[in-house]
Each structure stands twice: as structure tokens, then as C-alpha cells.
């Protein structure tokens, strides 16, 4: 009986996390389009609901009632599995995100490794979708995105090492608590910039949206998808973007901590601060989409391997030497 109770309590907690995440994914799509429109001096979605807030819900409804077309020559099992994998991986990563000191679903020892592992698994949804479609454009898109994501994961990994050197723990709550006095964005500012750009590449956002470059590949790996399956790819992508923003705010912007530990700031509950930071990073993502043209593929690879990787490796050495020299290494 007691075990059953724990089981239902866990399910309640999971739903309490997942439903807000899904709703905020819907809202974030609206925000993305609004920011994009704002930069281009358009209005953007403003018809459905107040300020067009329900636009995404209307879109989702439209997708649900559309027919799902499965190409005859596709590998049907993998074709159907691909959007499910994308969506699932985008959602399970939220289990370790700490919204406050106590409000975290799974406070595991290797939280940051878990996040990194899940985001590196994200490439499978794309490869599976691209290959199972059995069509040229999706396959090219899938190969591009696989190469791109694997390359930028390497630099994200090295950036994470930089942060871990300053923390001395892989636990996400510890990472946030280590920033109590100084957010890591200040001493590791170059790393923050590189993390931000790598996160753009990792989530296939413009200017690195080569996997779905419409001018060359129609819609990349999603070309053959329609209806609800397309919508799942789409939601998974935005959930991944939110996750990357959350990861950035935890690693560099002090997670749930308030900027100054003084009266008007520390009254605001901790989760609100994290959400504000995620929103800040997301608006930067949306602005970049509007103002930067798409990269060429060889430029993308050159940036990842020849510039970001050596630079972040050198920064690891610098950080380690600095901590060692001034005897600031954690855990002593």
C-alpha cells in the first residue's frame, strides 16, 4: 500500500512538472514568432485570444485534425518512432532541472552528465526520421544535423568541464549554490558566449538551422512528416530549446538565485527567477533568429572544430591554473 502511495505521489510530481513545461513550450512558440515579427516590423500572431496567445493551441488543434501520411516506401516502425523519441528525450531531461533548493524531481549526483547525455541522444530522433523517410532531402538533412550536433556537443562538453572545475560537483543544485557569491557568467564570460552559440547549433536554431534549410532541403528531416507527427517534432524542438536555455541559466546565470540578496529581490520565489532567466536566454535565441543570416556548412564545421574546441580547451587550462595558483580549487 505504501509503495502504491509513493508511486502515485511520484506520478503527481511528474505531471506537476510536465504540464507546465508543455504549456510553456506552447507559449514560447508564440513568443518566438512575436519577437521575430517585432524585429521585422510586423505584428506577428495577434488574432487568436488576447495578444494572439492561443495561436499555438489553434495550430496544435489544426495539426491534430490533419491526416498523418506515412510514405509507402518508408520504414514504418522507425518513421513513427522518430518523433516519439524526439519528444520523449526533450521531456525526460526536465527531471533533473532544479527550480529551487527543494523543488527538483530527481536530485541525482551526476545531474549535469544526465543533461548532457540526454541532449546528445537527441540526435537520434532526427537521424531516424531522416533515414526512415527513405527520401533524398530528409536523408541529407539528417546527415547534416548528425554531424553538426556531434561536433557542437564536444565544445559543450568542454565548456561544462570549465564550470565543473569551479564547482567540484556534478550535481545541478551544487552548481547553482556555488554561484551564490558570483555568477559564473562573470569569470567565465567567453565560455558563456561559446555555450550560447553552441546551444544554437545543438538545437538546430538559426543561424545554424542547416538540417532544415528550406532553400536547399525543403524542410530537411521533417519533409515527409505531416499532421500530429510533424507537431511532435516541432514541440520536441522547442522543448529542447527551453532545456538548453535552462541549462545555460543553471551553469552561468545562477539558476534559481536572485541577482542580489536584498529585500525586493529575495521575496520573489526561486522558481520565478529561474523562469525569468530562461525567458531572457530564449528572447536572445529568438532575436538571433531574426537578425543573423544562415551559415554555410563548411563555416559551421570550421567554427565548431577549429575555433570553439581549441579555445574552450585553452580556457580549461587557464581556469585550472588560475584556481590552482590562487588556491581556490573546490573541495579543499
Amino acid at each position: 500500500m505504501a509503495e502504491l502511495f509513493i508511486f502515485f505521489e511520484q506520478i503527481y510530481r511528474i505531471l506537476f512538472l510536465l504540464i507546465p513545461v508543455l504549456v510553456s513550450v506552447a507559449m514560447i512558440v508564440w513568443l518566438d514568432r512575436r519577437v521575430w515579427a517585432f524585429v521585422q516590423k510586423r505584428r506577428g500572431p495577434n488574432v487568436v485570444g488576447p495578444f494572439g496567445l492561443f495561436q499555438t493551441l489553434a495550430d496544435a488543434l489544426k495539426y491534430i485534425f490533419k491526416e498523418i501520411i506515412i510514405p509507402a516506401s518508408s520504414n514504418k516502425v522507425i518513421f513513427i518512432l522518430a518523433p516519439i523519441v524526439t519528444m520523449t528525450l526533450a521531456l525526460i531531461a526536465w527531471a533533473v532541472i532544479p527550480f529551487s533548493e527543494t523543488f527538483v524531481l530527481a536530485d541525482i549526483n551526476v545531474g549535469i552528465l544526465y543533461l548532457f547525455a540526454v541532449s546528445s541522444l537527441g540526435v537520434y530522433g532526427i537521424i531516424m526520421g531522416g533515414w526512415a523517410s527513405n527520401s533524398k532531402y530528409p536523408f541529407l538533412g539528417a546527415i547534416r544535423s548528425a554531424a553538426q550536433m556531434v561536433s557542437y556537443e564536444v565544445s559543450i562538453g568542454v565548456i561544462i568541464i570549465n564550470v565543473l572545475l569551479c564547482v567540484g560537483s556534478l550535481n545541478l543544485s551544487d552548481i547553482v549554490l556555488a554561484q551564490k557569491n558570483l555568477w559564473f557568467v562573470i569569470p567565465l564570460f567567453p565560455m558563456f558566449i561559446i555555450f550560447f552559440i553552441s546551444a544554437l547549433a545543438e538545437t538546430n536554431r538559426p543561424p545554424f538551422d542547416l538540417p532544415e534549410a528550406e532553400a536547399e532541403l525543403v524542410a530537411g528531416y521533417q519533409t515527409e512528416y505531416s499532421g500530429m507527427m510533424y507537431a511532435m517534432f516541432w514541440l520536441g524542438e522547442y522543448a529542447n530549446i527551453l532545456l538548453m536555455c535552462a541549462m545555460g541559466s543553471i551553469l552561468f546565470l545562477g539558476g534559481w538565485l536572485s541577482p542580489i540578496d536584498l529585500f525586493p529581490f529575495n521575496v520573489i520565489p526561486a522558481p520565478i527567477w529561474l523562469i525569468l532567466k530562461i525567458l531572457f536566454l530564449f528572447i536572445l535565441f529568438a532575436l538571433i533568429k531574426a537578425i543573423v543570416p544562415r551559415y554555410r556548412y563548411d563555416q559551421l564545421m570550421k567554427l565548431g572544430w577549429k575555433i570553439f574546441l581549441p579555445f574552450s580547451l585553452i580556457y580549461v587550462v587557464l581556469t585550472a591554473s588560475f584556481l590552482m595558483y590562487f588556491d581556490l580549487l573546490p573541495g579543499n
Binding site: 522507425i78 547525455a117 541522444l121 540526435v123 537520434y124 548528425a146 556531434v150 562538453g157
Partner: protein, 210 residues
């Protein structure tokens, strides 16, 4: 405890079934996907016995990087077709003895490992380093690898470096006539060496690219 056992059996069942499916399935891409499923369930087993660092590294390295490249190769080269041609060809093939030799060696190695299991209690006593149970896995692994076994660690790094350079040397070919973009050249170009005004005489052309 029962829940733990149930979860363990679920993961190990998935691991064994997918390992069998890797070899059995006709489509090579499907067998790579089964291999990935196998990796994932094995890393879940690692996490279940409390080796969370090893499990996560297994996910990141094998599933996140190695299997992606594997999948790449299998998708790009038409391995399935080659395999079928190879099986159907009536001519004698030199691959079978080599494959047999490798599989016999692996089989005997597995037997030795299973036989060595008997001496496991003695092995645990012969470990020279004290295991500190207060630290987390990651911390204790780091404090052992980077201090007591630093030479072995660097040696394995060297082996990987040699493999990497070898791979680059084997695949690198210098092609002539490739136009590369040089950012520095592009940026440092100005109007003076970009544009030139020439007075053209009547009925006579000008030579560009001089």
C-alpha cells in the same frame, strides 16, 4: 527490493533480446538501432548497481557519439546489399576463416572471464587502494585515476592520440584546385585592391587577372 529486482530483470531482458536482435535482424540499420537499445539498457544496469558515472559516460560516449558514427557508416555504405551478395556468391571467400578465428578467440576469452569469476572474492582483497565510501563515484574515480594511475591514464591517452593521428593520415588526401575561403584575406581586402579604374582604348581590350 522487489521493485528493484523487477526493474533489473526488465533491463537485462531488453539487453539480451536486443543483443540477439543485433545479430539476427536482416536490415543492418535495424541492427545498429538494436545495438543502441542494448547500450542504453546496459547503462541503465550500470546506474542500477550504483555506478552512475560509468552509466552516464557509457550513454554519452557510446550512444551519443560512437553509435551515431556507426549509424552513419551503415546508412551511407549499402552494407546490407554487400552482405547479401557476399552470402550468395558461390566463389570461395577468405573472410570466413578469419571471422571464425576471431569468434573462437572471443569465445575462449569469455570462458576465461566466466572461469575467473570464481576468484572474484580473492581479487577484491588484493586491491591495493583503499576505497573511500564517503565520496561520490565521480570524486573517488577522479582521485584514483589522476593520482595513483596517472601514468596509465596518460598512456591510454597516448594510444588514443596515435589512433586519431593514424585515422587522419589514412584518410587525408591533398587535392589540388580546391578554393578555400580565407576569412583574414576577405576581411583585410579594401577598395584599393578590389577595384581599379582603367582607361580603355578603342577596339582594344584590357587584360584582367594580370
Amino acid at each position: 527490493m522487489i521493485a528493484h529486482a523487477i526493474v533489473f530483470y526488465i533491463f537485462s531482458l531488453i539487453a539480451i533480446v536486443s543483443a540477439i536482435m543485433v545479430t539476427v535482424s536482416k536490415n543492418t540499420v535495424n541492427s545498429v538501432f538494436f545495438l543502441i537499445l542494448d547500450f542504453i539498457s546496459i547503462s541503465c544496469l550500470f546506474i542500477m548497481i550504483g555506478a552512475e558515472f560509468l552509466g552516464m559516460i557509457m550513454l554519452i560516449v557510446y550512444v551519443g557519439a560512437v553509435a551515431v558514427l556507426f549509424l552513419f557508416v551503415v546508412m551511407m555504405l549499402n552494407v546490407a546489399q554487400q552482405k547479401n551478395e557476399w552470402f550468395n556468391s558461390s566463389g570461395r571467400s577468405s573472410h570466413i576463416p578469419v571471422g571464425l578465428l576471431v569468434s573462437i578467440i572471443i569465445f575462449f576469452e569469455l570462458i576465461i572471464v566466466i572461469g575467473g569469476w570464481k576468484y572474484k572474492p580473492d581479487l577484491l582483497d588484493s586491491i591495493a587502494i583503499e576505497i573511500n565510501t564517503d565520496l561520490t563515484n565521480t570524486q573517488s574515480l577522479g582521485s584514483v585515476i589522476y593520482t595513483d594511475y596517472i601514468h596509465l591514464f596518460q598512456l591510454s591517452g597516448m594510444v588514443l592520440l596515435v589512433a586519431m593521428i593514424g585515422a587522419i593520415v589514412l584518410t587525408f588526401r591533398q587535392r589540388s584546385g580546391v578554393k578555400r575561403q580565407s576569412y583574414f584575406k576577405q576581411i583585410s581586402r579594401d577598395r584599393k585592391d578590389g577595384i581599379e579604374l582603367v582607361d580603355v582604348e578603342n577596339n582594344k581590350g584590357v587584360k584582367i587577372d594580370a
